[in-house]
């Protein structure tokens, strides 16, 4: 087996020093009736690198990759062009095969990178402090709700109807096992994000208001207005962002009144990867809240010679010290994804991020205008960044499937996200990024028009 360096001669010499007759003898503490004498039956034996690669390529080929079709999916996971440099850096063994930087003298590479990452995220979100990342956006969102409950000592989290339904679902699942509960209403297909309805539901029990920015239909809520009402009730405003590129064009939530900003960072550097691993981002505007913040934090310090260096800090919040009193049971971040995000952001810089955002928005505007010309198609949104909702006279799930059969990945049906109907099944979420061409837009418009004209989508 190519990954196992010991030879039989080595094994023999080592067993001799141990004073055991065989490797099996080392397992003497396992009761004999439960010890497996040989390989488990029915599973294949070892395989060469070439054979494994062949098997995996067969499985890979059974999927339609985004690059092989005009591709318009978003809804919390975005396809952007990832520069080759990003993957080169993440494949360096010193990053890829390092452990959590608990030994700072020999982990300054990871630690300095995390310090830079935290600073990039804090600035992108308009916040004071960001942590070293979390599992993904949906779990970061739940952790923010828990943190708000700790700070306000209240237990009702009000989630806007515009929040991604999977994020709501994660929060509802987790809330069931805590004293907290989630107040949430399903969205209706209308152009405004429902800010006033949301504000009307804030009361003195509310620990936090959770708003998605831009929301699951691509709409852009009025954050300052919601922030004012939230704070007047003594609650905290949590803003969720799932498309960091949008913040190249939209004002940072932390500058518009958010107390906690969380999000999904996958769009930069990480890639689609069928849903994971992704990158949870978490930041706060008030530095005094830092001790209630979950997740790892990297901080600046000096070494014994007075040189600047970095360490993981404030770790007394975490499970390995606080055990059952920890702020969270999390003991990992998404380090390699944070590195990918940080390298991509470094390559872009402020100028590049703004240009990338402008290009995304330009293409989205072109697509919205073109698709609005297709008979039977209406664009829901007045304002949007790179994602908007089309409303059709028919269910969009069968339509999306039919277009996929024709080689066009047309978008995300709201019927997939909200399977319980009530009009939402006629919504189609369409996303444009710099990876789309103007020909892609034309292809989608024509394919949509043909499919609707055929009218037989059952």
């Amino acid at each position: 087996m190519r990954y196992l360096p010991l030879t039989d001669a080595d094994r023999g010499a080592m067993l001799e020093r141990i004073g055991a007759p065989s490797i099996d003898a080392l397992f003497a503490d396992v009761p004999a009736e439960h010890y497996l004498d040989g390989p488990i039956e029915g599973l294949p034996a070892h395989a060469s690198e070439m054979a494994v690669e062949r098997h995996m390529r067969q499985l890979s080929k059974q999927n339609l990759a985004a690059a092989d079709a005009p591709f318009f999916l978003g809804a919390g996971a975005y396809r952007h062009h990832v520069p080759a440099t990003v993957d080169h850096v993440t494949q360096r063994g010193e990053f890829l095969t390092a452990y959590t930087p608990y030994q700072p003298e020999i982990a300054q590479g990871t630690l300095q990178m995390l310090f830079e990452f935290q600073t990039q995220v804090a600035r992108l979100y308009g916040c004071a402090i960001a942590n070293a990342s979390m599992y993904d956006g949906s779990t970061a969102c739940w952790e923010a709700i828990v943190m708000a409950a700790r700070l306000t000592k209240r237990h009702k989290a009000l989630m806007s109807s515009g929040v991604h339904p999977h994020y709501v679902s994660v929060a509802q699942t987790m809330a069931h096992f805590t004293p907290g509960h989630i107040d949430y209403d399903l969205p209706v297909l209308c152009s405004n994000a429902g800010d006033d309805k949301l504000i009307a539901r804030i009361d003195e029990e509310t620990s936090c208001v959770v708003v998605h920015y831009p929301d699951v239909m691509g709409r852009i809520p009025d954050l300052p207005k919601i922030a004012e009402a939230t704070h007047a009730a003594g609650a905290l405003l949590i803003v969720v962002n799932t498309e960091p590129v949008a913040l190249g064009a939209l004002e940072a939530p932390g500058k518009l009144g958010a107390d906690i900003v969380v999000g999904e960072g996958q769009a930069l550097g990480v890639g689609l990867q069928f849903g994971g691993p992704y990158l949870g981002l978490f930041a706060i505007t008030n530095p005094k809240h830092v001790r209630q913040m979950p997740g790892r934090l990297c901080g600046e310090t000096v070494d014994a010679d007075g040189k600047r260096g970095f360490v993981l800090t404030l770790s007394t919040r975490e499970q390995h010290i606080r055990r059952e009193k920890a702020t969270s049971n999390i003991c990992t971040n998404s380090g390699l994804c944070a590195l990918a995000f940080s390298v991509h952001m470094t390559l872009l810089g402020e100028k590049g991020l703004a240009a990338l955002a402008a290009e995304n928005h330009r293409l989205a505007c072109l697509a919205a205008d073109r698709l609005a010309q297709v008979p039977g198609v209406n664009v829901l949104n007045d304002v949007f960044f790179n994602e908007f909702t089309l409303v059709l006279d028919t269910e969009t799930r069968p339509l999306v499937r039919e277009l996929a059969d024709k080689g066009v990945l047309a978008g995300v049906s709201l019927g997939r996200l909200f399977p319980d109907g009530d009009g939402r099944e006629n919504g189609l979420l369409v996303t444009l990024t710099e990876t789309n061409t103007e020909e892609d837009i034309e292809t989608l418009a024509v394919a949509l028009q043909e499919a609707l004209a055929e009218g037989d989508l059952a």
């Binding site: 001790r291 770790s315 007394t316 010290i321 606080r322 009193k325």
Partner: protein, 124 residues
Amino acid sequence: MPRYFTEEHEWIDVDGDSATIGITDYAQEQLGDVVFVETPQAGTQLAKGAEAGVVESVKAASDVYAPISGTVTEGNTALEDEPELVNSSPEEDGWFFKLTVADASELEGLMDEAAYETFCEGLD
């Protein structure tokens, strides 16, 4: 002014119906470099044994308990900016909080200095 000690390594100075509470030199040595202290706010009513605050070092976090019942009159705000006072002066400048003694009889079960010293020796 009598000084009492607890098995949780706290000291209590009692002056009439007012008590000042901190952690002992032994405790600060066990904790190592103290980096953060949270003290209770004035007006907080504490029952004997209730969590009154937190003291954290780089590697450890401990709750500080109310050794006797009472109402907090003052937390040591100097510790917010200078938590290291707990290391440099644990039994004077590094005090945690003051409270009014609700029930003086609760002091009876506590140790004096000699008993506490013997208690610590038994721990090593």
